[in-house]
């Protein structure tokens, strides 16, 4: 799963995604982009996997990890942005994503 963010003055103006995965993974990434488009970075940071799943009218238990991936992908993208532009984003300090989290683990769906 990959997320692309276009950020201007702290506002996410556009979001795009790429996903190799099942229907739930694609739907979760798509919904996550819808939910943060036009929002500020602070608002996007508040997006939870549950909110993604709820917006999809729920996901079956075995597919909940797809929504977690979507939440993680957004936070990874924001972390990438904060590193590249030296912007401090509240809430990212405890998150320790490695590169692999940008992608949907092949064995994981």
């Amino acid at each position: 799963m990959k997320m692309y963010l276009k950020i201007n003055n702290g506002v996410i103006e556009d979001v795009k995604f790429k996903t190799f995965g099942c229907g739930s993974a694609i739907a979760s990434s798509s919904m996550a982009t819808e939910l943060i488009k036009g929002k500020t970075i602070e608002e996007a940071m508040k997006l939870t996997n549950k909110a993604v799943a709820d917006a999809l009218d729920g996901l079956p238990p075995v597919k909940m990890h797809c929504s977690i991936l979507a939440e993680q992908a957004i936070k990874s993208a924001l972390l990438d942005y904060s590193k590249k532009h030296n912007v401090y984003i509240d809430g990212l300090e405890d998150i320790d994503f490695d590169e692999d989290h940008h992608h949907h683990d092949l064995d994981d769906h």
Binding site: M1, K18, T19, L106, D107
Partner: protein, 392 residues
């Protein structure tokens, strides 16, 4: 009008009208218990014996060697457990393959917990077993060889006659799960040296929940279900008369005009494969190019995942299936696709289209047309495809 194209005939088939018509009176008018002495009962008994004759005729057996079961899985369970427990004094070793249906694999795993030893034969890239490996696996303790006739996922047809000869030479029982093969391949149990054979009606336009196990005369086997004197004391339980009648009619129809139907299916299958090959790149045909079931097409589309493919196909009215983990409820893709040496990544992108008597050439064109667009769309959103394009 919304089109609906059914290309999952290996999963199940619709009951043909002629089959249903024969079944219907046995629900409401001729409802007698076949064990009863009065004429209503003997009417049911006759219907069962008539169906038994039809099944026997279809596979070159004697009617007394056909036993009705509650489906293919029961027949498989019975064959494996029945032989294992019935011949324990002779040995505790069973040989099967890595690509069997779970009705065989899980039964063998269960027996392993009960003290049996099981050898799971490898298959090559086409899904074929190696006869040398089979011969080498045989020990003095081997009591059963069970190899499926044709694989449900990739359609590969095994060298059943050769396996039967090896088993006969070594005096070992040979069972074959022919659930996918019956109706699609001509089978003669004597010519092929088969001792036990499982079949299921709903794979050849009969009803669900009914199957049969062929047991060669003289084979020592324990019953799986005990309780009554039905099926010559080998399978207890009041007979499902309408379903048995349906099975008999369906198997008779399956081998009527067989060559004609078979050739038509092979033509449609190869047309579908060729059209997909010439319109979509980064694909792989799974299974053997020639030794395959007449209606089976199984193809991996690289960089995309099978379930998303199925959902997209369903949206345009096409029913198909996949060996992707996402469709199975587990984390691993199909054991068959892994056994033929595919990586997890490739196996996830498999699509199975299985054709039947009701599919047409027009449907092939429609499916290919839609498939091209769907694969293109899913690849356009795949990070894996992006990488490949960058490298080009």
């Amino acid at each position: 009008m919304k089109k609906y194209i059914y290309m999952d005939n290996a999963a199940t088939t619709p009951v043909k009208k002629e089959v249903l018509e024969e079944m219907l009176p046995y629900f409401t008018e001729k409802y007698g218990n076949a064990s009863s002495v009065y004429s209503l009962g003997s009417m049911s008994k006759r219907a069962i014996e008539d169906a038994r004759e039809k099944v026997a005729k279809a596979i070159g057996a004697n009617a007394r060697e056909i036993f009705f079961t509650g489906g293919g899985s029961e027949a498989d369970n019975w064959a494996i457990k029945g032989i294992a427990f019935g011949n324990y004094s002779k040995g505790n070793h069973i040989i099967t393959t890595k690509i069997e249906h779970h009705a065989i694999l899980h039964t063998c795993e269960y027996l392993e917990k009960k003290g049996f030893e099981v050898t799971y034969l490898d298959v090559d890239e086409y899904g074929l077993v190696d006869l040398e490996q089979l011969k080498n696996a045989i020990t003095d303790k081997t009591i059963l060889i069970s190899v499926m006739f044709a694989n449900n996922e990739i359609g590969t047809v095994q060298p059943i006659k050769e396996i039967g000869e090896i088993a006969k030479e070594r005096n070992i029982y040979f069972h074959t799960d022919a659930v996918q093969a019956i109706g699609n391949i001509k089978i003669d149990v004597n010519e092929l040296n088969i001792d036990l054979l499982s079949l299921s009606a709903h794979k050849f336009y009969g009803p669900k929940g009914i199957g049969a196990l062929y047991i060669r005369q003289g084979v020592k086997i324990d019953p799986l279900i005990t309780g009554g004197a039905q099926e010559r004391r080998r399978r207890a339980g009041t007979e499902n008369v309408p379903a048995i009648v349906g099975l008999g009619k369906a198997i008779e129809l399956a081998y009527t005009n067989f060559e004609e139907k078979n050739n038509r299916l092979i033509k449609l299958r190869d047309m579908l494969i060729d059209k997909i090959k010439s319109n979509i790149d980064y694909i792989r045909l799974n299974g053997h190019p020639v030794k395959r079931l007449p209606g089976n097409v199984n193809i991996c589309f690289q960089f995309i995942e099978g379930e998303s493919l199925l959902l997209s196909l369903d949206m345009v009215g096409i029913a198909a299936s996949s060996g992707s983990a996402c469709t199975s409820g587990s984390l691993d893709p199909s054991h068959v696709l892994l056994a033929i040496g595919l990586s997890h990544e490739i196996a996830h992108g498999s699509l199975r289209l299985t054709l039947g008597d009701f599919n047409t050439e027009d449907e092939i064109d429609y499916v290919v047309e839609k498939l091209v667009k769907i694969v293109e769309r899913l690849r356009s959103m795949s990070p894996l495809y992006e990488k490949v394009k960058e490298e080009k």
